[in-house]
């Protein structure tokens, strides 16, 4: 690590071709000591290893605010640790001009048996400050923590929230040149949390270079002017926070959908008992999009599109659409003839029951509009069946997962947000 004190205007972090390989060994052994001593790590000789960071290069200049996003285990923290200097790259070079202040974990050295005040001293001492230097800032820290008389009680008497408040408050007096923050900065109740994020913003404003890892896309977009998305140790995308975070979220959604489909593939059946009758697809869309999705956010406007292919004449056709939760609870089970007035029930006049006359011929698509989607959080099987004379000729089902919007209150989730009103809005035919 090349580190030097730059003048205040010329700070930079230069990461060039940096890799970090962790050796995976379950037991520590004399062998690992020898390997560490001989040091020249040759990844081909290590049998089990993990490439945490894979040939990453980027550079940051004075004034940059860089956000880093990525899934768990993507290598974000490893990268931060290397920039900080806590760990060394296996290969590649990191040049840092300026003094790095890193907040990687909160409350590392909290001593349960000592009072909050003594812990503040310890935290300062661990960072190499003298008692008198700590005395200058301790009042500000105590004031920020808002622990009242508890500041002089042992930390073991604190609630979890109080502990995190104390730990967070120890940061308030840092005056960083290059600031590195690794998420987990939510502390205490909502009042304190907003105060804390306000403080982080202030500190970031003081820092001349900020590198921020967060799982909160809103934080990244708000506080950064550049964003890097890392996946499996590699930079996937580097650019405007808005663009990168939405690309990242889209990717996460796709991965989740793939996982959902894989896990519940047994529910995604497509059956046809009669040649010439087929339910081609059952897909859910957001009203404002044209891409089918399997994971939907509750209370959005959603369209479920059913597509059928009917190439033969049917006497008394009908379409049945069912929404069933995975645990077996049926939310909706309707026949098209019940919902569409033009789709007259056929028992009375057989002459008009021909599917050709009803327009149920060729390739047909129906849109079932749910505006908004009222299903509660959970996984649902959507099934569409083509009936004739009360017999099922073809059927197809798919699975969707309804998730609650981010930042919604947690707790007991309603099964339905309000009674379902599923309306058949339009039917279009294209032969």
């Amino acid at each position: 690590m090349e580190t030097s004190r730059g003048n205040a205007l010329n700070l930079s972090v230069q990461v060039s071709d940096v890799s970090k390989i962790y050796r995976l060994s379950y037991t520590l052994s004399p062998l690992s000591l020898l390997q560490a001593l001989t040091s020249k790590q040759d990844s081909s000789k290590i049998e089990r290893y993990k490439v945490a960071v894979d040939r990453v290069s980027f550079s940051i200049q004075t004034g940059d605010r860089l956000g880093i996003v990525g899934a768990n285990g993507a290598g974000k923290s490893t990268l931060l640790q290397m920039i900080t200097g806590v760990s060394k790259p296996t290969s590649g070079n990191i040049e840092v001009v300026g003094h790095v202040t890193a907040v990687l974990t909160l409350g590392v050295g909290l001593r349960e048996d000592l009072s909050g005040r003594e812990n503040i001293y310890i935290d300062g001492e661990v960072q190499g400050k003298s008692r008198s230097e700590i005395n200058l800032i301790i009042d500000e820290i105590i004031e920020f923590a808002e622990l009242g008389e508890f500041i002089d009680y042992p930390v073991r008497t604190y609630s979890t929230g109080m502990k995190s408040r104390l730990a967070f408050s120890m940061l308030v007096c840092i005056e960083p040149e290059i600031l590195i923050i690794d998420e987990a900065l939510s502390a205490g109740d909502s009042v304190f949390a907003s105060k804390a994020s306000q403080k982080i913003r202030e500190i970031c404003n003081k820092g001349k270079i900020v590198i921020l890892v967060s799982h909160s896309m809103a934080t990244i977009v708000e506080m950064c002017d550049r964003c890097i998305w890392i996946d499996q140790g590699k930079i996937v995308m580097d650019g405007d926070p808005q663009e990168v975070t939405s690309a990242y979220l889209e990717d996460v959604r796709k991965a989740n959908e793939a996982l959902l489909i894989e896990k519940y593939s047994s529910y995604m059946k497509s059956v046809s008992w009669l040649q010439g009758c087929e339910v081609i697809s059952v897909e859910a869309y957001y009203a404002y999009e044209s891409k089918p999705r399997n994971i939907l956010i509750a209370k959005q406007d959603v369209i479920i599109r059913i597509c059928l292919q009917v190439d033969i004449l049917l006497d008394n056709p009908d379409i049945r659409f069912q929404i069933k939760r995975l645990d077996g609870m049926v939310f909706s089970d309707q026949l098209l003839s019940e919902t569409d007035p033009t789709f007259i029930n056929t028992n009375s006049s057989r002459a008009h029951s021909n599917n050709l006359l009803k327009g149920l011929y060729g390739r047909i698509a129906y849109d079932i509009c749910m505006t908004p989607l009222v299903l509660g959080k959970g996984k649902y099987v959507l099934t569409c069946e083509l009936l004739n004379q009360d017999m099922t000729f073809a059927s197809k089902s798919t699975i969707i997962e309804v998730v609650t919007p981010p930042n919604s209150p947690t707790g007991v989730q309603p099964a339905l947000f309000y009674p379902s009103t599923i309306a058949l809005a339009c039917n279009e035919i294209f032969i």
Binding site: M1, E2, T3, S4, Y22, R23, L28, S29, P30, S32, L33, A36, L37, S39, Q81, T84, G85, V86, S87, K88, P89, N93, I94, V100, A102, L104, T105, V108, G109, R111, D113, L114, I122, E125, V126, Q127, G128, K129, S130
Partner: protein, 274 residues
């Protein structure tokens, strides 16, 4: 990887610490002592009380129950004084070594989250041995006064002894603490190794009563030489042999410079091993 720090690091490789480093070492030292007795109502007072009680027991047992005698110290307290003059420094060595050995593993939280000179951890931990040493010296002063064998100007040689002793402990501490990261068993077996060592070293019995082979070993045993310097300076009013001082100094310097290199070579791997 290149190091701009390298010239600086080289210069502090053993004894030349910057003021910032000294602050670090003092803070860690305080923390080490405080952490050990955390939660007890007497707190850090135990750091002094515990060795004091131990020395009191030795004095009572060997001064008034066993009435052990060694040549050259025929009074009631003679053996107890002689024992404590050697055993006090030994306690400093064993305590310092044990703390230094576990220091890096114990400081894993810091190592993973804070950028600092990791090599200061074993240094600070080794210095915890100063506490039992000072307790033993104070205890000795009182005992010697009671025994009517007050210290002479020779006591001044305790100062180089302390410096050499801790240079030696720190030098070994570099090796032990780094090894303990990779082979945790080392820290577990160490107390027993130290007990073996204390019986190989003529601390509980005079050198003259040991077999010839052991006497030969003792002549080159730095642990024994260190303890012997204290005895000579405090009880026997002798000037310690300059040669033995130089010998321990040389060994400490040699081990220290290899040890700090050894440590710095391994410290890059600590973070992934802890």
């Amino acid at each position: 990887m290149k190091y701009l720090y390298k010239p600086i690091r080289k210069s502090i490789s053993f004894l030349g610490l910057s003021p910032q480093d000294i602050q670090f070492v003092l803070n860690f030292l305080k923390l080490n002592i405080r952490d050990r007795y955390l939660g007890s109502s007497l707190g850090s007072l135990w750091a002094i009380l515990n060795p004091m009680i131990m020395f009191a027991i030795y004095t009572f047992v060997f001064g008034y129950v066993f009435k052990a005698k060694i040549p050259g110290a025929e009074t009631n307290l003679g053996y107890a004084i002689w024992l404590i003059a050697g055993f006090g420094p030994w306690m400093a060595i064993s305590e310092g070594l044990m703390n230094a050995t576990t220091s890096v593993v114990a400081g894993s939280g810091l190592i993973k989250n804070l950028v600092f000179k990791t090599e200061l951890l074993p240094v600070a931990a080794a210095l915890t041995g100063l506490v039992p040493l000072f307790v033993s010296l104070c205890f000795l002063t009182v005992l010697l006064a009671i025994d009517g064998n007050t210290m002479s100007w020779h006591a001044i040689f305790v100062i180089p002894a302390i410096i050499l002793q801790f240079a030696f402990i720190i030098a070994l501490g570099f090796f032990f603490s780094a090894i303990n990261v990779f082979i945790r068993d080392f820290g577990i077996i160490l107390p027993n190794l130290l007990i073996m060592l204390v019986f190989v070293t003529p601390i509980f019995y005079p050198e003259s009563s040991t077999p010839a082979i052991l006497q030969l070993i003792s002549a080159f045993n730095p642990f024994y030489i260190i303890c012997q310097i204290y005895r000579q300076a405090l009880i026997f009013h002798q000037i310690p042999s300059i040669l033995s001082l130089l010998y321990v100094g040389f060994i400490s310097w040699l081990l220290g410079s290899i040890g700090s290199k050894f440590f710095c070579r391994l410290k890059g791997s600590f973070e992934s091993m802890l």
